[in-house]
């Protein structure tokens, strides 16, 4: 039997991104399919977080060249760069923030009910009914149990006064509720102790499973423990210089980026230049 459905794909092609006058991404190519797990590694300042923001459409990040395309199960190609951030969320793209914002006074459950409704009913107009409270609560409760979260969490204000670990788990909870097709997890392990990273890693695996295409941005291999990457990408100087399998992540974790820098001198030079600019920036204002 011939299946008419396509593999849902997020394809990033020759992406150049600037913040102000600084070019941070200098031609990123990356394709990932739903059901795959990718690890994105690279030294600090190589542009990993920028890629996450650019995929979501942060207004401070200007895409100066290249494309981001989402291929649906029906084979339709969507131009992600033309979408508002909320539209990107609605077509199934999710970013777990490295530093999530707090929204004091807004309960996690209310925020998530709104978010979940919008994402699941992409045609919903503003002001229309939200998901039925009872169904939503039930689902939220089940997901929180699965993630071993205190039910009190739902009544707390969004990320307000959360510990680092709580924030990261709240991001995973949101991912679980929104059920994206493609999730980018930006250093979901940063600031967490070993046990918390292990828990996060396990949760991502449980939630994501084969359902999502996951791009894990990380420095360490701990988060990959339960999410063995199908592909590992190395970013240096604003581009992806090498792609390999899980063994590449292990190598980088063990030996660092020296081999990468010497093997890709152009990217390493860009990295050094970007580092220089970065040091100048605070003094400039």
């Amino acid at each position: 039997m011939i299946s008419s459905t396509q593999r849902e794909t997020l394809r990033i092609n020759d992406l150049h991104v600037s913040v102000g006058d600084r070019e941070i991404l200098r031609g990123v190519n990356l394709t990932f399919h739903r059901g795959e797990t990718h690890a994105l590694m690279g030294p600090n300042g190589s542009g990993k977080s920028t890629l996450g923001y650019a995929i979501m459409g942060h207004p401070g990040y200007d895409v100066t060249r290249g494309s981001i395309e989402l291929v649906t199960a029906e084979g339709q190609s969507l131009n992600v760069l033309e979408m508002e951030p909320n539209e990107r969320a609605r077509v199934g793209i999710f970013l777990a923030f490295q530093r999530p914002m707090s929204i004091p006074g807004v309960k996690m459950a209310d925020f998530l009910r709104h978010a979940t409704t919008n994402v699941r009913r992409p045609d919903r107009k503003e002001g229309e009914e939200l998901l039925p409270m009872r169904d939503f609560r039930k689902e939220l409760k089940a997901k929180m149990e699965q993630l071993r979260m205190d039910p009190e969490f739902a009544r707390r204000y969004v990320n307000d006064g959360f510990s680092g670990g709580e924030m990261k788990r709240a991001e995973i909870l949101q991912m679980a509720m929104l059920r994206p097709k493609f999730a980018i997890l930006d250093e979901t392990d940063s600031g967490l102790d070993v046990d918390a990273v292990r828990l996060a890693s396990q949760s991502i695996a449980e939630i994501g499973g084969a359902e999502m295409g996951i791009l894990i941005i990380t420095h360490h291999d701990k988060l990959l423990e339960h999410n063995r990457p199908d592909f590992t990408h190395v970013m240096l100087g604003g581009r992806i210089v090498e792609t390999g399998g899980p063994e590449l992540a292990e190598e980088l974790h063990r030996s660092g980026y020296d081999r990468i820098r010497s093997q890709y001198p152009d990217a390493a030079a860009d990295e050094a230049a970007m580092r220089q600019e970065k040091h100048v920036e605070p003094a400039a204002g």
Binding site: R88, L95, I103, G105, F111, H114, N118
Partner: protein, 436 residues
């Protein structure tokens, strides 16, 4: 027979005609005449006076208004926000300083509760009302508007709850204005010792042509009495709103006073809470949302006159467009008011770079064993917060609306009446526009 005012301005003839039509006792007429003399003597407040320094009256023309006349036929009350879905014990409606309808649960009337139009009840229940009206809680010489109100107050509402009586359902008051109208309504609330009540009052109407509200609220909370009072100013965009508001809270009395300020073109309000008996407590909540070129000025005073009293004021405002809000807050502690616990705070959220908020807290303390604190903040909606919410599928407008709702949550948490929280929350949500 009174006729519809055809001339404008506040002339002696029009005042004489106003008094002649009212059929009031001589002590009250005397009060009015005295205040009329003050009104004639006083000029409009000038910007050299501290409380009026930031209030721009250049486009206000008092002589375009006249004393309240008869209601034009067919005038209908504007819609109310606070009474929606509430099981009320009574209601009172007035428009342009004229009583329209009122009702009170007969079982409460049988217990001696007096509620309804002050105009109508002053004649019938002068026995209970005279001692309070004679106190002249608002000084008629405070400014020209206070004098005008004292001379010509009309319409308005009264709630009197006798000793020990508990009114367990809310009462509702609506004061309306038609375009170009005038409202000189007074709200008089009296809770005798141990009485309890909840009063929801709101103002509405007055869109378009300049309209004038020159009002007063006078509140007496007796020993051990408990009053929850909500006062929503939701006038239309044509209304100039001038008001003096004062509450006395006696020994162990409890006052929760929530003000909502959404409407009017310009508002200048003096809100004064005096804690006069040992152990009295007042909680003052303010929710403000302004837009367009609205200008709101609130001068608040928490006056501690007795020992061991507590006052806690929290005003929160969100400002859109080119609107402006001024809050000048004072906690005054008299020499004998030891063990005072006073707090005041004003937080503003700026939704536009052209909006402006001024917070001017102040303390004047003569006792030596007190705890008084104050604070003020002004902030903007953070673009990163908006982006975060949008990444979760919310539109920009939904995100801003949610962030603003969150900003008000702290004060909503203090307002224990669901219908009030919902009404304020919805009204604010509807007003929020999209910003770049």
């Amino acid at each position: 027979m009174p006729s519809i005012a055809t001339s404008t301005g506040f002339t002696q003839d029009s005042f004489d005609a106003f008094l002649a039509a009212r059929d009031e006792p001589s002590w009250l007429l005397e009060q009015r005449r005295e205040s009329w003399a003050e009104f004639q003597r006083l000029g409009l407040p000038s910007r050299s006076e501290e409380e009026w320094m930031r209030t721009d009256l250049r486009l206000f023309h008092l002589d375009r208004f006249a004393l309240p006349g008869e209601l034009p036929a067919g005038t209908v009350a504007p819609p109310a926000l606070l009474s929606h879905g509430v099981d009320l014990a009574g209601h009172d409606v007035s428009i342009n300083s004229r009583p329209v309808t009122s009702a009170l649960d007969p079982s409460l009337a049988a217990q001696g509760v007096v509620f309804g139009s002050l105009d109508r009840l002053i004649a019938q229940r002068a026995d209970v009302l005279r001692p309070y009206l004679s106190r002249r809680l608002i000084n008629p010489s405070a400014d020209k508007f206070a004098a005008l109100h004292a001379a010509a107050w009309s319409g308005g509402s009264v709630l009197y709850v006798p000793r020990g009586v508990v009114v367990d359902r809310p009462l509702h008051v609506l004061s309306g204005l038609s375009a170009g109208g005038i409202d000189l309504g007074k709200t008089l609330i009296i809770l005798e010792e141990g009485a309890e009540a909840t009063l929801l009052s709101e103002t509405a109407g007055g869109e378009g042509d300049p309209a004038l509200h020159c009002g007063a609220i006078e509140i007496f909370v007796g020993p051990g009495a408990k009053l929850r009072y909500v006062n929503l100013q939701n006038w239309g965009s044509g209304v100039w709103h001038f008001a003096h508001q004062k509450a006395l809270v006696d020994r162990d009395g409890r006052l929760q006073w929530t003000i909502g300020a959404l409407g009017s073109r310009l508002a200048q309000v003096n809100q004064h809470v005096a804690l006069t008996g040992i152990g009295a407590e007042a909680q003052v909540n303010g929710v403000m949302f302004t837009e367009g070129k609205q200008q709101l000025t609130y001068n608040t005073l928490q006056h501690h006159q007795a020992e061991r009293c507590r006052s806690d004021l929290l005003y929160k405002g969100a400002l859109q467009d080119r609107s402006r809000v001024v809050w000048r807050g004072m906690i005054k502690v008299d020499k004998g008011a030891q063990k005072t616990d006073g707090y005041q705070r004003n937080d503003n959220l700026m939704l536009s770079e052209h909006a402006r908020a001024d917070s001017i807290p102040g303390l004047e303390i003569e006792a030596d064993d007190v705890r008084c604190t104050h604070g003020a903040t002004a902030g903007r909606v953070d673009d990163e917060q908006i982006f975060y919410a949008r990444c979760r599928g919310l539109t920009r407008k939904e995100a801003i609306r949610m962030i603003v709702a969150g900003f008000f949550q702290q004060v909503f948490d203090r307002i224990t009446i669901d219908s009030v929280r919902d009404a304020l929350g919805d009204a604010i949500g509807r007003r929020i526009r999209e910003y770049d």
